[in-house]
């Protein structure tokens, strides 16, 4: 049993292992099979199966009426998805890279996120916006960002960010069934793609039947007592690797919390852990300023700063566009070395 399964709370019904990409597309396929209102649209999602593997096999199973390769206009197909959702469909629109939200943000945050509010609750927009995030493979400043802090900042949409195969499937199913617009952000580095640096945690046991992972509930990825590392997405894997190593070396027994959702944010789980350990590290692959890391810290200090026994450590991307050069890119990303330094600093080791 891995920490993933124990902390899931759900007893595994299978030992079948899937990559995160396969788990995600299986979740989509099961909801598409169960509900004719669900369809998928985006660029290269058909025969190509999504350039990061999010829709592998869907075209063969459901045909081009329900897995739609669109012309290259993000404004068009996200706007169309918004319209279809207001008509009662449950579309899933894939923005190939989150970085391209710039070309279609009006449809996302002025329409997808606000129609329910501005209709006095009369019109629902039950769609999912899937999008690939994250760097670490030399794709430069317009293809490597996480930007989840930005989506979480804008009211009206839920934001989920799975790190494991189990959560990728369960959160996808929850997102499709949710009556709110849900932004589903998958890090390329957790997908288990053959051509990317692979973390072993990108492949794990995934139940065959459809199941939900509740949106807005964090998960303890690794229990610990000396400090709390709050993080999300690929950084969960890095932080867990570092925490395991530091525990084995007798440096510190760090607890790693995988937020899984940013909206709603599970403030209670953050508080509960930090109140217990008294020490907080936040690891965030998004930019440092005005982002998730600050929000997590405020979650603690708003309630009672006196629980903190050491200054908080934030490991995030400094306020520069993400460089393309390998060495430079790895310097800005929250890598194992930086996470270790932060844990050591917060526990005074």
């Amino acid at each position: 049993m891995t920490a993933t399964e124990t902390s899931q709370g759900a007893a595994p019904t299978t030992t079948r292992r899937l990559t995160t990409a396969k788990a995600m597309s299986e979740g989509i396929a099961q909801e598409m099979a169960a509900n004719p209102e669900v369809f998928y649209l985006g660029e290269d999602v058909g025969a190509y199966g999504g350039i990061f593997g999010s829709t592998g096999g869907l075209l063969d199973q459901f045909g081009p009426q329900r897995v739609i390769d669109t012309p290259i206009s993000e404004t068009a197909f996200i706007g169309l998805a918004v319209g279809a959702a207001t008509e009662g469909m449950r579309p899933i629109a894939e923005l190939m890279f989150v970085d391209f939200m710039g070309v279609c943000l009006d449809q996302i945050y002025n329409h997808m996120a606000k129609i329910h509010y501005e209709s006095g609750g009369n019109v629902k927009v039950p769609m999912v916006l899937t999008t690939a995030v994250g760097g670490g493979y030399s794709d430069a400043a317009q293809h490597s960002q996480c930007l989840w802090g930005l989506f979480a900042h804008l009211p009206g949409m839920k934001v989920v960010v799975p790190s494991t195969p189990y959560d990728a499937k369960g959160l996808m199913i929850s997102a499709i069934r949710d009556d709110n617009p849900v932004v589903y952000m998958f890090h390329k580095g957790v997908m288990g793609l053959p051509w990317m640096a692979k973390n072993p945690r990108a492949t794990d046991v995934v139940p065959e039947e459809a199941y939900e992972v509740p949106i807005g509930k964090a998960r303890i990825a690794r229990p610990g007592t000396d400090c709390t590392v709050v993080t999300i997405s690929l950084s969960v894997h890095h932080a867990t690797d570092v925490a395991d190593r530091l525990a084995a070396d007798g440096v510190a027994d760090a607890e790693v919390i995988d937020l899984r959702s940013l909206v709603p944010l599970d403030r209670e789980s953050i508080w509960e852990s930090v109140a217990r350990t008294g020490r907080l590290v936040v690891v965030d692959e998004d930019y440092l300023s005005f982002g998730m890391s600050g929000e997590v810290v405020a979650t603690v200090t708003d309630r009672d700063p006196s629980v903190l026994r050491a200054p908080v450590q934030r490991v995030a991307v400094p306020d520069v566009p993400i460089p393309y050069a390998r060495g430079l890119e790895h310097a800005v990303l929250p890598n194992a070395g930086r996470i270790e330094a932060a844990i050591r600093a917060v526990v005074g080791a």
């Binding site: 660029e43 290269d44 058909g46 025969a47 190509y48 350039i51 075209l59 081009p64 009426q65 739609i68 390769d69 669109t70 012309p71 290259i72 206009s73 404004t75 068009a76 970085d99 391209f100 710039g102 070309v103 030399s138 794709d139 430069a140 317009q142 293809h143 051509w195 440092l288 300023s289 400094p318 306020d319 520069v320 566009p321 460089p323 393309y324 050069a325 390998r326 060495g327 430079l328 890119e329 310097a331 800005v332 194992a336 070395g337 930086r338 270790e340 330094a341």
Partner: protein
């Protein structure tokens, strides 16, 4: 449901057969090297110019092939091959006047070639060793653009600047200036591109929209972007559109030169669809076998842009085996130079990533830089641990 309304998968039936035969376009050189002389595009090129085109095409193809190989050997992070599109890019690039300004996509290595950018500078960009690559003002060439279609609006805006500077329609050939906006068939679906058409049209901007229809947008065939030939869209926006054989360097040159002249004279925008084919992968991260119909590549290889020029040079006795051998040797030398230059590009200093975030010094970035320095030096004092 009618056939037109039903979505087709990328490997689905094509409404336009691949290749040149059923396509009407401006052609000056057939795939067999026979010269055609359409009245609207008179072109008299001397022997040196013809040989210059040949040299450009061969050297460019070699540079591109070397760059693909360098990426395969881990020397570049990524490469976007132009294989098959050489004539389209050289034809357009050579039609530019020195003062004209061009906006490339990320595949426009032929344009950078024509604008005198050192191939090593292009490689430094793809190697991640330089931010920016080249100074646009030096080469009258904007930076590569990767977010699809965005540069087309910038081109229209740049043309607006030229217009306001009074560098249009003066009749002075050294002063009148045009802008070339490059993009692909996929980009024609973007709002940015269509909005650029609207603005160029109503403000009569000196811009030429140069679309290389290489038949694909990653895996999606161009029928996924349009039900009518792309060049015909122009008429709805109120300016001329023309389709040219994109594998015919003479035709692309003639058509682009004509459109640039119109723009410089103050007669407004033109849309050019250069009908060509991407013979390589979308980028080195792509696997075209997942979507390329069988036989299609072989078909287009019959229409190769270099082969037909060889035929024509032989036919007109402008080039012989000795000349071709000379150029082949020059290409080999370029290959060696490019490989060596690529491997000797120095790695950027890590701290350089904090430069240029803002125009002037910035407290937050300074703080981030200070953190980075301290973090780096923590390894030095710890004896290189971690």
């Amino acid at each position: 449901m009618s056939d037109l309304a039903s979505p087709r998968g990328p490997a689905g039936p094509r409404s336009v057969p691949p290749g040149g035969e059923a396509i009407d376009f401006v052609q000056l050189l057939t795939p067999d090297g026979a010269r055609k002389r359409p009245a609207e595009y008179p072109l008299d090129v001397d022997a040196d110019t013809l040989r210059g085109f040949y040299r450009d095409l061969v050297l460019l193809r070699r540079f591109d092939t070397e760059a693909t190989a360098l990426q395969r050997h881990g020397e570049l992070g990524l490469w976007a091959p132009l294989l098959g599109q050489e004539a389209a890019q050289i034809g357009a690039g050579r039609a530019l006047a020195p003062q004209d300004f061009a906006f490339p996509t990320f595949r426009e290595h032929g344009l950078t070639w024509c604008r005198g950018v050192d191939p090593a500078q292009v490689l430094a960009l793809f190697r991640g060793a330089s931010l920016g690559g080249w100074d646009p003002a030096v080469h009258n060439l904007h930076l590569y653009s990767i977010v699809i279609g965005t540069q087309v609006l910038h081109a229209a805006g740049y043309a607006m600047g030229i217009q306001r500077d009074g560098h249009v329609g003066t009749g002075d050939p050294a002063r009148d200036t045009a802008v070339l906006a490059c993009f692909g068939d996929g980009a024609t679906s973007q709002g940015d591109v269509n909005e650029a058409f609207v603005f160029a049209s109503v403000f009569n901007l000196p811009v030429v929209f140069f679309c290389q229809n290489n038949q694909f947008a990653i895996s999606e065939p161009n029928q996924r972007q349009s039900r009518i030939p792309l060049y015909r869209r122009a008429s709805g926006f109120g300016f001329p559109g023309v389709r040219v054989d994109g594998n015919d360097v003479l035709a692309v040159y003639a058509v682009t030169r004509d459109a640039l002249d119109r723009a410089r004279r103050g007669e407004g925008p033109t849309f050019i669809e250069a009908y060509t084919y991407r013979m390589g992968a979308h980028t080195t991260s792509d696997d075209p076998s997942r979507y390329r119909p069988t036989g299609e590549l072989e078909h287009w290889q019959q229409l190769d842009p270099i082969d037909r020029l060889v035929e024509y040079l032989l036919l007109t006795q402008t080039g012989d085996e000795r000349y071709f051998a000379e150029i082949a040797a020059e290409a080999d030398a370029l290959g060696v130079r490019v490989r060596e230059a690529c491997r000797s590009i120095p790695n950027p200093l890590p701290e350089s990533m904090f430069d240029h975030v803002h125009v002037e010094p910035h407290a937050q970035v300074d703080a981030d830089r200070a953190w980075f320095r301290a973090y780096q030096s923590s390894f030095e004092t710890a004896g290189g641990a971690a």
